[in-house]
Amino acid sequence: MHGSQTPHSVRAWDLPTRLFHWALVFCIVSAWVSFEYAGQLGDPTLRWHRWNGYAILVLLVFRILWGFVGGSTSRFAAFIRWPWVALGYLKDTLAGRHRAYLGHNPAGSWMIVALIVVVMGQAILGLFTLEHNEVTAGPLQRLILDDEATTKLVQTLHGRGFYIILGLAALHVLANLLYQHLAKDKLITAMVTGHKPSAAYEDQPEATGGSPVLALVCLMAATAIVFGGITLMGGRIL
C-alpha cells in the first residue's frame, strides 16, 4: 500500500477528494477566463463558460455525496465541528499554539463549507443568468425570461459572486501557505500527494481511502442529479 511512501507517512486524503479539489481549482479559474476573454477566445456564446459551470455543479454535488461515503477525512461528520470549537482553535493558532489535524482543522472546515456553499450558489445563479448582451444565457434563464427585475438581480449577483469567491479563495490560499511554510504543517503537499508525516493528530491518526467504486457511483449520481435536475425544471441545455 505505501510502497512509494516513507514508513513515517500516513494517508491524509483519499484520491477522489484530491482530484475533486484540483479539478475545482481549475474550473474556477477557467470560469473567470472563459467569461473575461470570451471574445478573444472566439467563444462569444460562452459555450465553454456554460459547460464549465455544469462541471462545477457536478463536482460540488459529487463532493457533497462523497462527504457521506468517502474516505474518513472527507466525511462531513469527521470535520464539521461546532463554531465555538473553530473559534477556540483559531484563538490557539493565533496565539502561536499550533494544534495539528490530519484532515480539515476546525477553522478550515468552515472555510470548506463556505466555499462549497458560495461556489454552489454562484453556479446555480449562473443557470439563471442572462449574458449582459443577451447573446446567451444559462439553461434555466427561460424560467424568468419575462421577469426583467429578477433577471437583472440575478445578473448582478452572478457578477458580484465572483468577488466573494475571490475573497474566500484568497483567504484559503493564504492560510494554507502560512501552514505550509510558517507552521511547517504541509497542507498543500498533502492535498497533492494525499500523505502527511505520521504525528499525534487531534482528529485521527490515519485516514481511510474510500472506495473507488463508490466514488464512481457518486460521480455518476452527481451527473444525473445536475443534468436531470436542469431538464426536469424545464431547462434547455445549450
Binding site: A38, G39, P44, H132
Partner: protein
Amino acid sequence: MSGRLVTFGRLALVAAVLAGGATAALAQSAAIQARKDILKTFGPASRAPGLMLRGEQPFDLAAVQAALKVFADGAPKLPALFPADSQTGDTKALPLIWQEKDKFNAIFTKLEADSKAAMTAITNEATFKTEMPKVLGNCGTCHTAYRAR
C-alpha cells in the same frame, strides 16, 4: 459711476465664465448622449437574435437582417463620439478607452465589417447560428474591457 461699470464688468465676467462652462459641459454631455442614443438601439436590436440563438424564438431572417443593419449603420458613427473631453459625466465609459483609443475604435470597425459580412452570409438558420455569434461577440469584447460594471 465708474463703480457701476466695475460692478457690471464683474457680473459680465462671471456670466461669461458660467456660460462658457455651461457650453463646455453641454457639448461634453452632447457626445455622451449621442453615443448612448446609438448604443441604446444596439441592445433592443440584439434581443431578438439572442432569443433565436437560445432557441426561445423561431428564426426570422428579416428580423436578423434588420438588427445587422442597426449595427452596420451605428458602428461607424461611434468612434467620433468618444472625444477626449467626454471621459467624465453620466457615463460608464472607462478611462482605458482613451489610453488605447486605436484598439477601442478597431472594435467598431470590426463590428461594422462583421455586420456587413453577416448580412450576405446569413441566409438560413444554420448560417445564422454560425455567423451571428461573431457579430454579437463584439458587444462583449468591448463591454468587458471598456464599460464599468
